[in-house]
Amino acid sequence: MKKQVSLAREYTKGLWEQSPVFKQVLGMCPTLAVTVSAMNGIAMALATTFVLVFSSFIISLIRKLIPSQVRIASYIVIIATFVTIVDLVMRAQFPELSKALGPYIPLIVVNCVILGRAEAFAAKNSPLRSLLDALGMGTGFLIALASLGGIREIIGSRTLLGMQVLPDAFEPWLIMILPAGAFLTLGLMMGFLNSMVERRKRRDEAAVLAQHMRKPAVAIMEGQEG
């Protein structure tokens, strides 16, 4: 029997530690394709979160009824139901946003984050835990897409959420709202975040060593690098 993690952890792990975009590198298609502006990123992430939360919850509820041979097909049917709901609601209520996101809303069906959580988590855990896990993953997805979209919007079209934030003297970098800009921004963000994690890990290790060796942590860190 594996150790049960706290309910709060089930939510918070998706924010950063197992962030679907930065750590699991899942759901790259919408991440790269629709984040030309912060608004698009947020809308995409919210739509995905809706589908993720409901499908994870339902799958977890019926996890013991689904024969394992047809589980993937069953997941897809459940996911597709919620995607259809999102798609129709968005078309009716937010026609402009729906047009901007284009085919990427129906494509949520094949988003790896959703199928991944269904297979890796919801199929093995209680409905409450699955719900929290899905919410956490959704929030992590939202953080990633909103920041990526925000950065690309600021540099690529001088605005953030439609409001101008950079002066006219700044020539917008067209590349940032082209596909190449998505790859560049995501790559740089991942590299930067990973290097921060790496640095923190090294500092923690040095602190532990320092306790044992009664030396200042800084000296150990410098010794390690040398």
Binding site: E171, L174, L184, E225
Partner: protein, 324 residues
């Protein structure tokens, strides 16, 4: 370079142990890099002669920011700072010479930072980059500021200043052919260092004679353009003749200074021919059928990506090894 590895020369009493093949070069990395800088001097002079002294500022900006970025990144990553080897200077110089005249200094600086940071340091620095850093910077500028990078200036001593465009743009958009003579002399529109065939060849031949650039790559590219461009010209006489292809645009400059970059070109002789032919084929296709007037940048970047593959397939068979 086919049969030559460039290493730091051993200092005196050191004993070097290595496995065969024992290839060596007359030159060290540092010497090679400064030879290239020297070879680019005629192009810098032609840029100043045809487009004015402001261009020196553009080139200097590119060099300063390229070197500065490399030094900054190396010190941030706590690696030895190796800007004295001159490779960043070359990247800066090359980038400065392939932007249009009177290009914004801010954009030039951005391009230089991108060249070094993304084109080179991200991959691990000199020797590890897949793509030619200067061309990567130029491609970034092309995608980021498409208007600024296609705004051309009429050169001094222009024969007839009817069009501000480059000879290739004139051909593509207005169906106007430019004579070969101004292309050789260089009083035509174009990027700073590429307009004068004489200046480019002066530096290029110096590189070929010293062996810094391998002759096979420019040779393969020239032969390739003559074959592919010639074939298309035979089919459709309205297409430009292959000699025009060679002298127009950045072909010569790229053949001498860009494609011959040791890091991003194949190491075997056979590989260099494949690489050169590949570049010229894509170049001719882009120039004649593509949406852009000039395709030399993308054709080299494209073939850069194939270099590891070319190296693998043209690797010489080890003596005694079976047929693969």
């Amino acid at each position: 370079m086919s049969s030559v590895t460039v290493t730091e020369a051993p200092t005196g009493s050191e004993l070097l142990l290595s496995t065969s093949p024992h290839l060596h070069s007359r030159w060290t990395t540092k010497q090679v890099m400064w030879f290239v800088v020297l070879a680019l001097v005629p192009c810098v002079i032609s840029a100043v002669v045809y487009f004015g002294f402001y261009q020196l500022l553009v080139i200097a900006t590119a060099v300063v920011f390229a070197v500065g970025t490399e030094a900054l990144i190396q010190s941030l990553m706590k690696k030895p700072v190796t800007v004295v080897d001159g490779s960043a200077v070359i990247t800066g110089l090359l980038l400065g010479l392939i932007v249009p005249p009177n290009f914004s200094l801010v954009f030039t600086a951005l391009g230089a930072v991108f060249s070094i940071a993304i084109g080179k340091m991200v991959f691990g620095g000199l020797g590890y980059n897949i793509f030619n850093p200067a061309l990567a910077g130029r491609a970034f500028l092309q995608a980021a500021f498409p208007v600024a990078i296609t705004t051309w200036t009429i050169p001094h001593f222009a024969v007839d200043a009817v069009s501000k465009a480059t000879p290739l743009a004139a051909l593509k958009f207005d169906r106007v052919m430019t004579d070969i003579t101004p292309l050789v002399v260089g009083n035509v529109g174009g990027s700073l260092g590429e307009t004068s065939a004489v200046a480019v060849l002066l530096g290029g031949i110096f590189l070929l004679v010293t062996g810094v650039a391998n002759w096979r790559i420019p040779a393969a590219m020239t032969v390739g353009v003559l074959i592919f461009g010639g074939a298309l010209w035979m089919i459709d006489p309205a297409a430009p003749n292959p000699v025009f292809h060679i002298f127009a645009g950045g072909f010569l400059f790229a053949a001498m200074f860009m494609a011959t970059d040791m890091v991003t070109s194949p190491v075997t002789g056979k590989g260099m021919w494949i690489y050169g032919f590949g570049i010229s084929l894509i170049l001719v296709l882009i120039r004649i059928y593509g949406g852009l007037p000039e395709g030399v940048m993308y054709s080299i970047l494209f073939m850069n990506a194939f270099v590891p593959l070319i190296n693998r397939y043209t690797a010489p068979r080890i003596f005694g090894e079976g047929q693969s």
